[in-house]
Amino acid sequence: MTIALQVLISGLAAGGVYGLFAAGHSLIYRLTGIVNFAFGDLVGLGIFATLLVLAGTSPVTQAGAHEPRFLLALVVGLACCVGASVATYFGLVQPYLARGSTIGWVAGTVAVAFAIRAAIGAVFQRSSYVFPDPLPFHRVGHAGFVGIGGAQVQARAFFVIGLALALALGSAWLLERTPFGRALRAVADDDEGARIVGVPVDLFVGLAFGLVGALAMIAAIAAAPGEAVSANTGTLLGLKGLVAALAVRFGPPLYAFVAGLVLGVLEAAIANVHLGGWQLGPAYREVLPLLFVLLLISIWPSREALEERE
């Protein structure tokens, strides 16, 4: 019971972040029919830009952040992430999408992913970094851990879960209730039709690229002080978001968010849960969900998918 609660809460916290990445992947796929392979790294760029302004490239302690400096850093980081995302769309996705060149946008987004990894690795040369905490979670409970029903849980986990939920529901509201959201849903249904009725499709899709990057980045930053960050952090988050989005076949963004939550809990369970004498262990945590989704998409039905091209 104790371990179950611990798994659930830490899993939901990780899953909340995955969920925002999944929702972003899903929204972008529904808008454009592409998968942004650079999504995770674009967010990684924002995280490390924030870290650079906040603390430079030298090692810091977790309790090092001052609030005004942190806000400045966050704004700079968001600007980097959003700017690079929008630039990726207009520079390397939209031109090839318009030409119908799959290899173009695939290679383009992957190039951005590796370029960002290279840039982060060149500036931050140590293998991993501590992200300073703007909020004083280390003062809550025992050095940031609180006890619930015997389980020791990071206080930050509750904050991350709440923030991720708020962001997910907020963006769902944005999609459902605002003119911008309605326009995006129109593009997802039929981009030619949306163009004809006067929706500035390219501009809105470009903005959506930036928006999903910003949302995912805020959640990732909120969770970042809990673990060491490295150039792989963004990439892996993007990958897990993709796994969750694929599990619901790029369904509505909220479904993808929920799939992300499930993935988070599943990963925590794989790493920690004993069933009798049987335990998988942390080594399987990253590998099993990936393998599962790889097998899942290989049995997707296809006959009708082909007809769209006629």
């Binding site: 029919g33 592409i34 998968v35 392979f37 390397l92 090839y96 060149s101 799959t102 290899i103 173009g104 695939v106 290679a107 383009g108 992957v110 190039a111 951005v112 590796f114 370029a115 990894r117 290279a118 840039a119 690795g121 060149a122 040369q125 990958l239 993709l242 796994v243 694929l246 942390p282 080594a283 399987y284 945590r285 990253e286 590998v287 990936l290 393998l291 989704v293 790889l294 097998l295 998409i297 290989s298 049995i299 997707w300 296809s302 006959r303 009708e304 998918a305 082909l306 007809e307 091209r309 006629e310």
Partner: protein
């Protein structure tokens, strides 16, 4: 018995040698010279040459050459070539280090393991090509994360130490590895070049340009794409399995997803459209490395990071220039060394199956979401008759064709051909039995000529057009080629386009393109031909020739189901007519009766009340 067989083999070999002499060109001399020079490199005593680095670069070129087939010919953007190299390398390394296997079988097992992984991750070839990028991206990370998470398998940060081995009886020094890699590279280049020129390459190219059209002509989409993808993977696995012994250690850090990216960059940099492109790309990356590595040391940047940045920059650069790569840029210059290949001709012989049969559909029903497109459609088309299926937009005509041709499955109802129930059969099976379909006007293969387009329609009639047979140029595969050409030319002549055989499709008029599509369907030697709106956008003066072509097809005993809006063409070409409205038959009978009736007018104009 044996003597006769030997004699036949001798004759075949002499014929093959004759064909090879006929195809031998300046380019072939240059290539053979380059390969011979390449084999001599270790013995030239070049100063500063590191044999091990050169050999591993050649292994990399082998993997890239395989990837070129997937990316260039099949149009599948694989992001996991490095994962297959890794799978091959670790399988081979484990077998050598833990089980004491010799190098050759260990490397072959590596190739097999990569092949197995490609079949698993290649299930998505049936979907849009973008999904292969997704599945291979997942695979590339999966393999790397697995190697990191399981040090018991991968040797952890130390890597797996690979013991000393021999290669084909020689101690496996870098020089021996280099020679083996070069031979492997030349063989795979020759094989892939032959495959891309042959039937398999044509079908891959057709699938890349217009998957729905190629499938409707009976090209087996999943089989051909998976074949190309799995072959590349096996080649990558073999290269990985051999090169790991050269490296002496299987280090997980050397097989991160960047390796996959680097291979993709090499292919696109050199030019995916050309067989030799990936090799040129690997060479170009190697040469750039000679400059960029010292630069990185000068700037005190981590070497691997700098390589990644350079590769990413090169890729964006190539994409910005149009994405063709080095070889296609040089093609206008290179084509001076090429000469047209002489094509053997044989008289046309029909290979169509025997007795004629009727097409019968019973109660076909299909809904899309809540919209019922077809609601219990039943009719019959007998051999030799031309039946028009007419009705307003959205009445379900094209849906009916899709269900009959197997592009979609019905929610209810049956499609029967003679006494066979084909409701669930794949398109290729139906094409082989004699049900062919043309698509609507705009569907073409923009990179093919008229004759090549029609040759795609021969897919289901070929018995020896597979990749392996084409690569090895087996006697049957070679004999089949001129027969297929003869049949394709015959089909082109039936629609009156035999003079335009070698004209690229984009240079044809729109009516000619439509006829090319019709000829491609005819080349499948159908008994029932489903024709989708042949008159859309055709000028009035072109209607009668079109009707004559359709009539000629009917005279050969082919049953034609003509979906058409143009009632003029219907009157000219069809004998019987079925009127659809809202997915149901509202009238059926001879064109003379039904064509003039109020029902047809209503179906087209709607029941207008003023």
């Amino acid at each position: 018995m044996t003597a006769a067989a030997l004699g036949r083999t001798g004759t075949e070999l002499r014929r093959a040698a004759g064909q090879a002499r006929g195809a031998w060109s300046t380019g072939a001399w240059v290539a053979a010279g380059a390969a011979a020079l390449g084999l001599l490199v270790p013995f030239l005593g070049l100063p500063g040459l590191r044999m091990d680095a050169l050999a591993s670069t050649v292994y990399l070129a082998v993997a890239a050459t395989g990837l070129g087939l997937t990316v260039g010919a099949a149009g599948l953007p694989s992001l996991g070539a490095g994962a297959f190299v890794a799978i091959g390398a670790f399988t081979s390394a484990l077998l050598m280090a833990r089980a004491g296997w010799p190098l050759e079988p260990a490397a072959l097992c590596g190739a097999l393991a990569a092949l197995a992984a490609s079949v698993i991750s290649g299930g998505v070839v049936r979907l849009r090509p973008a999904f292969l990028a997704v599945s291979t991206w997942l695979l590339a990370w999966l393999v790397w994360l697995f190697l990191l998470a399981f040090p018991s398998v991968s040797g952890g940060s130390q890597g797996l130490i690979v013991p000393v081995r021999s290669l084909f009886g020689l101690s496996a020094t870098p020089t021996v590895h280099y020679e083996a890699a070069l031979v492997l590279l030349v063989l795979s280049l020759l094989g892939i070049a032959a495959v891309r020129r042959g039937a398999f390459g044509l079908e891959l190219s057709a699938l890349r340009q217009h998957p729905a059209l190629a499938t409707s002509l009976g090209v087996p989409l999943a089989r051909q794409r998976l074949g190309a993808f799995a072959f590349s993977a096996a080649l990558a696995g073999l290269a990985g399995g051999l090169s790991v012994q050269l490296a002496g250690v299987a280090d997980p850090a050397a097989y991160d997803p960047f390796l996959s990216f680097k291979l993709l960059v090499a292919v696109l940099l050199g030019g995916a459209a050309a067989t030799l492109g990936p090799v040129v790309g690997v060479a170009a990356l190697g040469l750039i490395g000679l400059v960029s590595d010292p630069l990185a040391r000068l700037l005190q940047l981590p070497l691997q990071r700098f390589d990644a940045a350079v590769a990413a920059f090169l890729l964006v650069f190539v994409l910005a220039l149009g994405g063709d790569g080095i070889i296609p840029w040089l093609t206008p210059w290179l084509s001076r060394f090429r000469r047209p290949r002489s094509q053997a001709t044989v008289p046309y012989r029909s290979a169509a199956p025997g007795p004629k049969a009727a097409l019968r559909v019973e109660g076909l029903t299909k809904a899309f979401g809540g919209v019922v497109a077809l609601d219990g459609l039943s009719f019959e088309v007998t051999p030799g008759e031309t039946v028009a299926l007419v009705g307003p937009n959205g009445s379900g005509k094209t849906t009916a064709l899709r269900l009959i041709s197997g592009a979609m499955l019905p929610d209810a109802g049956r499609v029967c051909f003679g006494d066979r129930d084909l409701t669930e059969a794949p398109t290729r099976e139906r094409v082989r039995l004699g049900i062919a379909r043309t698509l609507q006007a705009t569907s073409t293969f923009p990179e093919l000529t008229a004759l090549e387009t029609v040759l795609v329609g021969r897919s289901a009639r070929r018995c020896y057009g597979g990749g392996a047979r084409t690569a090895l140029a087996t006697p049957r595969a070679r004999a089949e080629e001129p027969a297929a050409r003869a049949a394709a030319l015959h089909a082109l002549a039936m629609v009156g386009l035999d003079q335009q055989a070698d004209v690229p499709v984009p240079e044809l008029t729109s009516a000619q393109r439509r006829l090319t599509g019709l000829a491609a369907a005819l080349a499948t030697e159908p008994q029932i031909l489903l024709v989708d709106e042949p008159a859309a956008g055709v000028g009035v003066e072109e209607l009668e020739p079109l009707a004559r072509v359709l009539a000629a097809i009917g005279r050969q005993g082919v049953g034609v189901l003509l979906v058409e809006h143009n009632l003029r063409l219907v009157r000219l070409a069809a004998e019987r007519m079925i009127v659809l409205a809202a997915g149901q038959v509202v009238a059926e009978g001879s064109v003379a009766e039904v064509g003039e009736s109020e029902l047809v007018r209503q179906a087209y104009l709607g029941a207008q009340r003023l």
